[in-house]
Subunit: 212 residues, 2 copies
């Protein structure tokens, strides 16, 4: 039996969702560094051999090759018996928030951070557009977390691991402090951070000066 | 037993995904018109009573109240035994494309169309930004459909119904003809349109002058 591999790089909050799940379930894994900033995910080779969607993460073990964090998280929850659903209703609720995350939470946050921190974009119209969308999405999540400690039910699930994916990166990378401005989200991030095995993305994945 | 209800409006391609699934599975249902263009989904009442995420569609029947099209489509596939997965691998592959759709396909297409057709936006920087993202996403799907007739396997699934959600609206609403510029996508849309029970979104949901 070989160790599962995760195609990833330190700055990818999407890859972090899968890496964090592996850490929290104490699963041995090997990172495969993807040089995103040099365009690796856009090459024909990557799209042909690794992922036709041109994205990280990709998770590979003996029997499967998976992409899309929602698929990887669901698979690892089923394999490990941890952070998954305890009922059909909970399974639907977890999927509901993972879809919301993909459409309106991670999606807008990741794009905005990329433009602010890595693309040195001065395209203020696009930044303003995303800032308004982020504000709306954060408001929905803040209100939700004022009522309950985790996204679904009273224990952490893969819905939490999906939605927190970008929120441990330094505030400077966004240009604003999300946790400070949203107390319920801040407290929730603290609860996830307290789980045994939690690690910061820059300590968990390769490709950043802070990576160990 | 009451007829299931779908909160929807004609111009919502997301609602159309669920409405089309109901039509193709020959399921009786009642539309509940949501006056999106007058701001209904943004009201505190809608968020409290219908959907905290402030979105359509919402599907309600005797035992469940569901939002997010990926959840509704999965539920209806399980209930009807149609357009679902035939194996675990197929189930993961369907979810993979539904997530891609939510993140990068419907997401960008719907936003762009909204700005072009309904918001009369002249924000060319934002429009340009989304046009580039749409081009990339359409390229990935076109290449995928050059190799196979449907998104997953050789028969239509809910992954197809998710991804086609916005693509039957008139080309003028986008300002460009997606099917004409992408032959494999055009042929795929033709295959879905040929399924028994198919109806155009403006014929299937209320709130448009063309609605019957």
């Amino acid at each position: 039996m070989t160790t599962p591999q995760l195609y990833c790089f330190a700055q990818s909050g999407n890859a972090y969702k899968a890496a964090l799940m592996l850490a929290l379930t104490d699963t041995a894994w090997t990172p495969v560094f993807v040089d995103f900033f040099k365009g690796e995910t856009r090459t024909p080779e990557y799209r042909r051999n690794v992922n036709e969607m041109g994205e990280v993460p990709v998770f590979v073990d003996d029997s499967v090759k998976l992409s899309q964090t929602g698929v990887i998280l669901t698979y690892l929850a089923e394999q490990s018996g941890k952070f998954g659903a305890k009922s059909e209703a909970e399974r639907r609720e977890i999927l509901r928030w993972i879809l919301f995350d993909n459409h309106k939470f991670t999606s807008y946050l990741a794009t905005y951070r990329f433009m602010h921190a890595f693309a040195n974009s001065d395209d203020t119209a696009v930044m303003d557009f995303f800032r308004a969308r982020i504000k709306s999405a954060l408001g929905i999540v803040e209100k939700h977390l004022e009522r309950q400690p985790f996204i679904v039910g009273d224990a952490p699930t893969i819905a939490d691991l999906s939605m927190c994916g970008y929120l441990y990166y330094p505030a400077e990378e966004f240009g604003f402090d999300i946790a400070a401005a949203h107390p319920a989200i801040g407290a929730w991030l603290g609860r996830i951070k307290a789980l045994p095995g939690w690690k910061h993305p820059y300590k968990l994945m390769p490709g950043h000066p802070l990576a160990s």
